[in-house]
Amino acid sequence: MKVFLVLGAGTAGTMIARKMASKLDRQEWKVVLVDKDDDHFYQPGYLFIPFGIYQPKDVVKPKHRFIPGNVEFILSDIELIEPDANRVKLVKDGRSIHYDYLVVATGADIHPEQTEGLKDGGWRQNIFDFYTADGAAALAGFMKKWDGGRLVVNVVENPIKCPVAPLEFLLLADWYFTRRGIRNKVELIYATPLSEAFTKPTSAAALGDLLTRRGIQLETDFSVGQVDSGKNKIISYDEREVPYDLLVSIPTNMGAPVIARSGMGDDLNFVPTKKDTLQSQKWENIWILGDAANIPASKAGSVIHFEMETAVENILAHIAGKEMTHQFDGHSLCFIESGYGKAVMIDFSYEQEPVFGTYPLPVVGPFSLLRESYINHWGKLAFRTMYYDMMLKGISVPLPTRFTMVGKNLKTKTKK
């Protein structure tokens, strides 16, 4: 039997294992999926936990529920990947698995220990993250009792998972403290290493404008070098200081430690990946999907959905010894929750920055791009159901793979 091995049973790993198990000849192939635990988190839901909109139990389900019977699911940590020997060593029972093809979908996690002082005395006292379920829950507990002060949201460095999440957090915070009647006692500050509110010019201007209208201050080009939790301030490498009463940190995001142990990653343990075929840059029988890859696309669930067709078709072509014809275009689609029952949507690719316009979707759409609307908010909320009940279960989601310019307006540069 040939082995198609998938490491990581998150969004990307679960989806590719299911798809390959249905495409590959059962007489010839066995699909094996490995993960360290059985908790499948709906990570976009973390954002809602600090504001009491979701509870931690709303964003977790057992992984095995989404793994079909024709996939062998092994619960174990991974000791080492040996790509030159086509072998993976597991921790459990000292087992080794030889593979013919490998998909690395080991994701990305936060690493607060990478920043001096971030995990000192203030951690989980008045310094929190919301990129883990328990971090988000701890922050919810703090915010409920907080009577105001300076709330600083700080991105340590890029890339991060869901690059819009820090903005969403601030916009929701504006709404949350307004609703609690203490918005006048809360200062909201966004300290970012970027030079603007966001990366690309049109969306940076539109989202920057939205922050201004909500009374959110922007501290740009701020690369944090140290957190002084005794004096409650963050200090940048160029010695600017930003004091806080509540620090919401988005710590350095890195790929899995096993990637570093196996010598497969870059400086942040992300695996060098061909951005069009999604194949490893170094090993031709290895594909890298989702957050584990170093491709210049967002680390987001929608990207994985859009990657899937390219990955499946290219892997099948490669197995058959044929030319790989599918190219991933870097397509990404994000809802930006902005509070007051509204959200903004952005839709973009490697080549095309987010712009104004509409995103067509039969029946429920269209959604509005770079502008707030109620329908976008409902789209965002509906996504959790769509994720667990459709995407992960292999039921076709009505979001076409290829990026399209239909509905997009290139002339509008600023919000009028």
Binding site: P159, P193, S195, S223, D238, D266, D267, L268, P296, F348
Partner: protein, 105 residues
């Protein structure tokens, strides 16, 4: 794609002023862009970082990230910020005639 004359030489630049063809770069161009970016004189410390970025980009095809620079060029982050204030990775890439570091949205 726009053209711009820097240090007496016509070069291709993108809309943010990053050169698009590293082969058109010269040391004089580097000094001129550095001045525009608020660095009046390039010292040997600056050149150590610029040379590292040039050779890193030549082998990988892309301008190195901040971490790749501090890990590879033997300069700590604080000194790097002192040499190239604000966004060092972006600033070095610009001065070294490399494309903008590929960030993600």
């Amino acid at each position: 794609m726009a053209q711009k004359t820097i240090a007496g030489k016509k070069v291709e630049v993108n809309d943010e002023g990053f050169m698009t063809n590293p082969a058109e770069w010269t040391k004089e161009i580097a000094a001129a862009i550095a001045k525009e970016e608020g660095i009046p004189k390039l010292t040997p410390e600056h050149w150590k970082v610029i040379d590292f970025c040039r050779s890193s980009a030549a082998s990988s095809g892309a301008a190195p990230t901040l971490r790749a620079i501090t890990n590879g060029a033997g300069v700590n982050t604080k000194d790097l910020f002192a040499l190239f204030p604000k966004g060092p990775a972006k600033k070095v890439a610009k001065i070294a005639g490399l494309g903008k570091p590929e960030g993600c949205v």
